[in-house]
């Protein structure tokens, strides 16, 4: 892969997401200030606010993909003299970087809120482990989602977020109960066994690797087969 090509593509993604970063920063700073002023600042509301800000950063690349497909501008990048693998690599790196704040927050929430809730004491080791599990997993999941956006017709995928929300509502209670029952056992198991860490690491790594492999395959196909629709919006 040509590093100059990757640098240029990453540079474009960074510039496109600069506005998102600023918006996220404003949400975090202004939101915290407003909460302080109205006397509603609590750990819960602050974390919620930071999650919203981090999520808006993470959504930058997927939103750009949708925009490029709808406007037909994806043709610009797909007709550059670069292999589709380079386009995929640059897109996935952008996604991973965008997911960084969200993963860091999630790791913090796991360490300081979830673990104490199930009777375990967090620490730097747990924080790091949580981050190294959540970041690749969140990045890989987002890459998979984005690759579906690249490969398939965006209109046909419009049902996906709605379906996800419905599933979430239906399984929410069940999921919470399952986590409450399963997490303490897993934490205890990890805390008391050295080899369990290796097992956990392998499991935590293999899931994102499989997801990334599928995502890479789909995204490459999507870039190679992309044809702008005649009805694509012209800016």
């Amino acid at each position: 892969m040509n590093t100059r090509h990757i640098r240029s593509l990453l540079g474009v993604e960074f510039r496109r997401n600069k506005k998102n970063l600023l918006v996220a920063l404003c949400i975090a700073v202004v939101g915290t200030l407003v909460l302080q002023v109205v006397g509603r600042a609590s750990t819960g509301t602050t974390i919620w606010l930071l999650f919203v800000a981090a999520a808006s950063v993470a959504m930058g690349v997927p939103m750009n993909i949708i925009k490029d497909k709808v406007t037909g501008q994806m043709e610009f990048t797909t007709t550059l003299p670069v292999p589709s693998g380079t386009l995929v690599f640059a897109a996935f790196v952008s996604i991973a970087l965008g997911a960084f704040p969200l993963a860091a927050l999630a790791a913090g929430a796991i360490n300081w809120m979830v673990l104490p809730a199930v009777g375990a004491n967090g620490g730097v080791g747990w924080l790091l482990a949580a981050f190294l599990t959540v970041w690749p997993l969140a990045s890989a999941a987002m890459c998979l989602g984005c690759s579906a956006l690249i490969r398939f017709d965006v209109n046909k995928l419009a049902f996906a977020p709605a379906a996800f929300l419905i599933v979430l509502l239906v399984v929410d209670d069940f999921f919470e109960q399952w986590v409450r029952a399963w997490l303490p056992t897993a934490v205890e198991f990890l805390a008391n066994s050295g080899s369990a860490w290796v097992l956990g690491a392998v499991a935590a790594l293999s899931v994102p690797v499989v997801m990334l492999a599928v995502a890479s395959f789909l995204a490459r196909q999507g870039f190679e087969r992309y044809r702008p629709k005649p009805a694509a919006i012209d800016w």
Binding site: R4, H5, R7, S8, V12, R15, R16, Q73, E75, F76, T79, L80, P81, V82, P83, S84, E224, R227, D234, W235
Partner: protein, 241 residues
């Protein structure tokens, strides 16, 4: 240099019948025909912008699809509509592209911008149709490709801008004897100014392939555009004499 063998394209509402054509370096070929004749489809395939065709398109003996995407560095392509990020300035757009073409000549790009009176600080998304075509031409030409392909370069442009563009295209076509220039147009006056060979398409069918000289010899007094019009609308196949 470029050879099409049994080249055909089939869409649900369009069929480009098999074409067998050969273009030599140093030729200036106009592909003419009405809208929907198959001009853009053919040019896109030669430019390595489309894989969806039957038969083969060879450049220097290599099938284009098997050499993608690298072969695109050897082709300058001006598409029907400008491709790029609307938020970039003209200078940023060209700077971005320069990273992908090893033979990109920054000085030449600046010269073309000046000559076409294209402000480098303008945002790509705010350019008028004429300005967008100018930028596309600079982007296609700045890496001095051996094959320059222009898809409807002067369509929908005012006469003044058309004149400027045609002058630049003519100069670009003259630099380097081994350069192939392929362009499509339904403005027959443009063909008269640039081309030395004319390929005529009608409703997805090749109806003529001749030289400007051969066409002129039919009636030396008549304007070429009139001769072309009658050749295009006639049922006879027009070929090299």
């Amino acid at each position: 240099m470029v050879r099409l063998r049994e080249f055909s394209v089939r869409y649900p509402d369009f069929l480009l019948e098999p074409l067998d054509l050969e273009f030599k370096s140093s030729e200036r070929v106009a592909i003419v025909g009405a809208n929907g004749a198959g001009k853009s489809t053919t040019l896109k395939a030669i430019a390595g912008r489309s894989r969806h065709y039957e038969g083969t398109v060879e450049i220097g003996g290599r099938e284009v699809r098997s050499c993608l995407p690298g072969i695109r560095t050897e082709i300058g392509f001006l598409p029907e509509r400008l491709l790029g990020f609307g938020w970039m300035s003209v200078a940023e757009h060209l700077d971005f592209l320069s990273n992908f073409f090893p033979t990109w000549d920054d000085g030449y790009a600046r010269t073309l911008l000046r000559r076409l009176d294209l402000p480098s600080s303008s945002k790509v998304g705010t350019l008028s149709k004429g300005m967008a075509v100018k930028l596309s031409l600079v982007a296609a030409e700045a890496h001095r490709p051996p094959i320059l392909i222009l898809d409807e370069p002067t369509s929908g442009i005012d006469p003044l801008m058309r004149g400027e563009l045609l002058a630049v295209i003519n100069d670009a076509a003259s630099t380097g004897r081994d350069r192939l220039v392929l362009f499509s147009s339904h403005i027959l006056e443009d063909v008269e100014q640039i081309a030395d060979r004319i390929v005529m398409l009608r409703k997805g069918k090749l109806v003529g392939d001749t030289t400007v000289t051969a066409l002129r010899s039919r009636d030396p007094e008549a304007p070429l555009s009139r001769l072309l019009y009658s050749a295009l609308s006639s049922d006879e196949h027009t070929s090299h004499p």
